[in-house]
Amino acid sequence: MSPAIELHHATKRFLTPSGTVFTALQNLDMAVEPGEFCAVVGPTGCGKSTTLALISGLEPPSEGEVKVFGEPVTGIGEGIGYVFQTDAVFPWKTVLENVAAGPRYRGVANRDAREQARDWLSRVGLSGFEDRYPYQLSGGMRKRVALAQSLINGPRILLMDEPFSALDVQTRSLMENELLGLWAASSASVVFVTHDLEEAISLSDRVFVITAGPGTVKSNYKVDLPRPRNVAEIRFEPRFGEIYQEIWNDLRDEVLVSYERQKRSGAA
């Protein structure tokens, strides 16, 4: 059986407004198994988000191959869900309309789409908020809307770009637990980008460490912590500390490299 996601020597270059070429990713190799929860960690600006853009088909690679379930990615794929770092729910749609958008875009009749949306809203604990507009919700509730909006399409691959980074600590661990529950009930593969190593380990089966830009996979670690997990408590397990230590040794060098570069470009 082919992996759910496969990146092979993927390179992505961008043309900057000043006309120079910026290499975001260089020869990135990565494979995610079906149903696997993967985290991608790395210093700021190492191309983590670009990796997701390649997998989703929002951006084509400059070189190399990106495959989803054995098929080369040529455009935005059917079975992809994407939860963005910033608020991406539509401010002019009510909560219900936001969640119903996906099925409607994919040709489901309006009534059925709303029915499905109601069901998903109850699953993320937002029953009774159907007619609110996003500005009337808290940050955590907007993230729930975003989750329901993505999951309603039944994605086989769920891409998450630092989805909880803007939330306060308590809301965050609450959302992380809920995410694990929702993921367990699906069969989706998840790629979860974060700069928070603790979050990465407590959620995932595998952690990819990306080098300071241009990004490439430095190493990957299997997280052999038992499931189901409670993210608020799992950090106290001795095994958690060992894994953290191991990955941090790897990650620290990259963070330092990235920090030095920032200092230099700031001084220049």
Binding site: S56, L58, I76, E78, I80, G81, Y82, F84, T86, D87, A88, V89, F90, P91, W92, K93, T94, A101, G102, Y105, R106, Y133, P134, Y135, Q136, Q149, S150, N153
Partner: protein, 299 residues
């Protein structure tokens, strides 16, 4: 924490001293409300005062011979003229008919100009090629003082309502167009990416993401553009008409009747104020998803 408990103690102490003990929070709310009411009364009173001072000074100035009423008229003459128009009718027919004609022209021009502005603005905002090709022409057209097209329309479309609607529409078009164009250009990239991932096609992207997003820009421009529509209608009437408030003003001018000109101006101002209120209501309906802006007074 500290601040709040200190404030609690403070209010408790104050209520114990100045008012019977019981519900300090309720008292505070009542006091707020009383203050707000008093302030509103103050503002209303001062507004009346400004009008009285202005109109009274004007009237007094003419009576004392400091202002020549032949050129500048006087409030009493203007009100008399208005009353005459209302009770006896104008030389063009009943006054309400003139107001109605001008309103029809304004609303017609406003609607036509807005719709064209939104359609073309969105189209150009979506298509890089179209905007690159047509951009300079639109800028050039915008640089012309556009009221002069009223003269052209008076020739080509005749003296009836069509030429005024066309003039008003041209004025409205550019304002709405630029706002719609900019609105589409400034749509949050993440929202577009999200919609595409969720499965939106090109058409859904336009109707469900681009237009709603641009709508707050467009609606903001409607206040300005309604005023311009009124300008267009009146200018159109000045270029040649048989009816309308602009035509009334034009006739008054030809008869050296300053009071008539002022009376027409007052009428236009009243119409603009009514329209402004209608547009604010429309705005609240169209973008009810936007958080309410905390403003103290609404003008």
């Amino acid at each position: 924490m500290n601040v709040r408990s200190a404030a609690g103690r403070l209010s408790a102490g104050m209520s114990a001293r100045t008012e019977p003990a019981g519900r300090p929070a309720g008292d505070l709310v009542a006091k707020r409300r009383r203050d707000a009411q008093r302030r509103q009364l103050n503002v209303a009173g001062l507004r009346v005062l400004v009008a009285v001072v202005f109109l009274g000074g004007w009237e007094l100035g003419t009576r004392l011979g400091w202002i020549d009423p032949f050129f500048w008229s006087q409030p009493s003459a203007i009100f008399a003229k208005l009353w005459y128009w209302i009770s006896q009718g104008t030389e063009l027919g009943p006054l309400w008919e003139q107001a109605l004609v001008t309103m029809e022209e304004t609303v017609g021009g406003f609607v036509v100009g807005s719709i064209l502005g939104v359609i073309i603005g969105v189209a150009l905002g979506r298509s890089r090629l179209l905007s690159d090709v047509l951009g300079p022409y639109i800028k050039a057209a915008n640089a012309i003082p556009r009221v002069v097209v009223g003269a052209l329309f008076a020739i080509s479309l005749g003296l009836d309502i069509k030429s005024k609607i066309a003039t008003a529409a041209v004025l409205v078009f550019f304002v709405v167009f630029f706002n719609a164009f900019q609105g589409v250009r400034e749509v949050d990239r993440t929202l577009i990416a999200n919609a595409r991932i969720l499965g939106a096609g090109d058409r859904q992207l336009t109707t469900e993401i681009l237009i709603p997003s641009a709508l707050s820009w467009i609606v903001a421009s409607l206040h300005t553009s309604f005023g311009l529509a009124l300008v267009g209608a009146v200018v159109g009437e000045l270029f040649g008409a048989t009816q309308g408030v602009g035509e009334l003003i034009y006739n008054a001018k030809n008869q050296f009747d300053a009071a008539g000109v002022f009376a027409g101006m007052g009428l236009l101002a009243a119409m603009a104020l009514v329209a402004e209120a209608l547009i604010t209501a429309l705005e609240d309906r169209l973008i009810k998803w936007r958080p309410p802006v905390a403003t103290e007074t609404r003008i």
